[in-house]
Subunit: 196 residues, 4 copies
DNA sequence: TATGAATGAGCGTTCATTCAT
DNA sequence: GATGAATGAACGCTCATTCAT
C-alpha cells in the first residue's frame, strides 16, 4: 500500500485533495472561472504543489475526467449480474447510471462541460477498460436474440445515454427529480427506443 | 434601430457581423479562447464599437445564443403543416432539426458549449415564441389521441432531443453521418420511445 | 512629423520612456534581474502598455540593442571627414567610439551583456546601414595604399575593437580613465596592430 | 575534503560532477536558463546535495568561474620556459591561451557571460596565484629591455586579451578558425601593438 | 549525512473594458 | 456617434531554497 495501490489516485492524498477541489470549482465556475490559485486555496495546498502532481491545468482537467469516467463506469456496473435477463440488466445499468448522475451532480456537470469544451477536442475517448467486454456482450446478446433493433451499437448508445443525460441535467438543474414510478416509465421508454 | 424590423438583429449589419464573427470564433476556440480584440478583428470592426451593440462579452454570448435558438426553432418548423398526421409531423420536426444541426455545425457547437457552461447558469430558457403554441398543440394531440405515453412533455422532449443532439454531435465530430435509410430507423426509434 | 520621423523611436515618447527605463534597469540588473513590472514602474507606465509597443521582453531587448548599435555607429562617425588622411580618420573613429562608450556606460554595459547572452544567439548582426560603405572604403584605402596588414577586415576590426572595448570596460568599472596623453598612446598601439 | 590535494575541487567527485553539469548548462542556456533542478538532473545528483557543496546558485557560478580562470591560466603557461626569449614566450602564451579557448568553447562562453553579467559585479578579480610572479616578471623584462611600450601592464594586457577574446569568440561562433599562417600574423599584430 | 517533495513569491503575458479624442 | 490606445488585475506557471525524513 505504501508503494502502489490499485487505484492510482487513491495512493496520494494530496492528489485526491487537488482533484476534489478541482471538481468543486470547475463544476461551479467552469474551467476558466477557476484559477489555479483559487484551486490551490480551496485544496489548502500551495500553488506550486499542484504542479508536482499535474503537468499543468489542462492535464489536471484531463486527469479529473478520466477519474470520473472510471468512477461512473464502475457505478454503472454495480451489482451487474450477467446471468440476469437482458431487460433486467438494462434496467440495472440505466438506474445505476442515473442514480450516479443525481448523486454526483458535480461529476456530472464537470463531465458535460468537458465533453463540449472546444479546447479539449481530443481526450482518449473510450476508457471503458474492464467493462468494455461486458458491454459488448450485452449488446451482442440483444442483437443475437433479435431483441435490439438492427442499429449500430453507438446509435443504440445514443438512444440510451441521450435521454439519460438530458434528464439528469434537468433533474440537477432544479426540475423535480422523477419519482420511482415515473423513472420506470422513462426506462421503459428508452427500452422501447432500442427494442424491436 | 430607427426602423422596426421583425428580426431585431436584421436591422443592423454591424451587429450581424459581430455575431457572425463571434459564432466562428467561439465555436472554434470556446468563449474564453476568443478575445474581444480578436473578435473585433475578425468582424472587421473596432473593439469599442462592439460595446455600442452589446453591454459586454457575456451579453454578446447570450444574444448569440438567443439568435441561434430562434433560428434553430424556425428551421425546425420549416414546412410544418398542422394538417398532416401526427407521425408525419414528428418526422418533419425531427428531420428538420437534425438537418439544421448538421448544416450549421458552428451553431450546434456553440449551443452545446453554452448549454453546459456553468458561468452562464441563467439564460432565459424558453424563447419558443411563436412556435410555443404549435408545440403545445403537437404534444396535446398526441396525449389526447392516446398516441404518446403519459409522460410530461419535457420528458418526451428529452427522449427526442437527447438522441438527436447526441447523434448530431457524433456526426459533426467526424463519425460518418447516417444515410437516409439509417436516419429513418433512428427517427422510428425516437418515435418508439415516446409512443404508446 | 505627426506620422513618420526619420528615427522610428523618436516619434513615440512612450516608447522612448520604456527604452530609457529598460536601459537603466537592464544595465544595472541584467536582463533577468529586471522584471517587466519593475520596468513599467521605472518608466512610469502600466505594464500592459509596454506590450502595445513591444511584442514581449525579448523583442524589447532586441529593439534596445538595435537602437544603441545605431547610436553608437552614428557617434563613431561624428565629424568623420573622408578627405582626411587615413591615420587622422582612424584616430577620429577610435576616439569617437571610445568617448561614446565612456559617456554612455549604460549603453556600453547593455551592449556587452547582449553580445554574450546565450539566449539571444542570433540578432541581425550587421546593422551598419549608411556607414557600411564608409567603413568598407576606409579599409579598402588602407589595403590599397599598403598601410594595413594583409589580414581580413574582420580580423583588423577585432584588433581595434577588442582593446577598445576592454579598455572601456575597465574605465567604466572604475579603473581611472586614461588621460589624454595616455589615450593617444593606446590609439597608436592599436594602429601599430593593424598597420604594416 | 579530508585529504589535501593541490586542486581543492579534485578531492570531491560530486563537486566535479556538479561543476561539469553547470558548465554545460550555463554555457548553453545562460545562468537563468538553467534551473538548479535541471542542473541536479544533468549531474545525476539530488538537488539538496548541491547545497551541501555550494551555498547557492550564485556561489556555484562564482566557484565555476574561479575554476575555469585557474584552468585557463594553467593552460596559458603550459610549457612556458622563462629562459626563452621574450618574443618566443609571448607567442607561447598567446597560442596557449587561444588554443585553450578554442578547445574549451563551453568554458570560454561561460567566462564571457560571467564577465559581463551585471548581477555578479564583484568577483575577486585576480586569482592569478602562482603565475602572477611569472607574469610580472614577463612584463618587467619587456619594460626593462625597452621592448614594450611605456604603458601600464593592464593596458598592455587589454591590447593582447582584447583581440584574442574577440577572435576566439568569432571562431567559436562559427566563423572559420584561422589557419596556422594566419594565426601567426595575428600574434604578430598583437605584438606590434605592445612592442615599441 | 543525504535527500527530494514542498513551497510561494514572483515571473511574463493577456484581455475585458474604458474614455479621451 | 465612433474609435482604438490605454489600463492593471488576474492569469498559468517556475524555481531557488528549505527541512522533515
Amino acid at each position: 500500500m505504501n508503494v502502489h495501490s490499485e487505484n492510482p489516485s487513491a495512493g496520494d492524498p494530496k492528489r485526491r485533495r487537488i482533484l476534489e477541489a478541482a471538481l468543486g470549482l470547475f463544476s461551479d465556475e467552469g474551467f476558466h472561472g477557476a484559477s489555479m490559485a483559487s484551486l490551490a486555496k480551496s485544496a489548502g495546498i500551495p500553488v506550486g504543489t499542484i504542479y508536482r502532481h499535474f503537468a499543468g491545468k489542462e492535464e489536471l482537467i484531463h486527469a479529473l475526467y478520466v477519474e470520473i469516467k472510471r468512477e461512473r463506469l464502475a457505478a454503472m456496473f454495480a451489482g451487474y449480474d450477467p446471468a440476469l435477463p437482458l431487460r433486467a440488466r438494462f434496467d440495472r445499468l440505466w438506474r445505476n447510471t442515473f442514480a450516479y448522475c443525481l448523486s454526483h451532480p458535480r461529476e456530472f456537470c464537470f463531465a458535460e462541460q468537458y465533453a463540449f469544451s472546444p479546447f479539449l477536442r481530443d481526450a482518449g475517448k473510450s476508457i471503458q477498460g474492464e467493462f468494455k467486454a461486458e458491454l459488448t456482450s450485452f449488446f451482442g446478446e440483444g442483437y443475437r436474440d433479435g431483441v435490439f433493433k438492427s442499429l449500430p451499437p453507438d446509435i443504440l448508445s445514443s438512444l440510451i445515454s441521450g435521454p439519460l443525460n438530458a434528464l439528469a441535467a434537468r433533474a440537477i438543474a432544479g426540475a423535480t427529480k422523477p419519482g420511482d414510478a415515473r423513472l420506470q416509465d422513462v426506462i421503459d421508454a428508452c427500452w422501447d427506443a432500442i427494442a424491436v
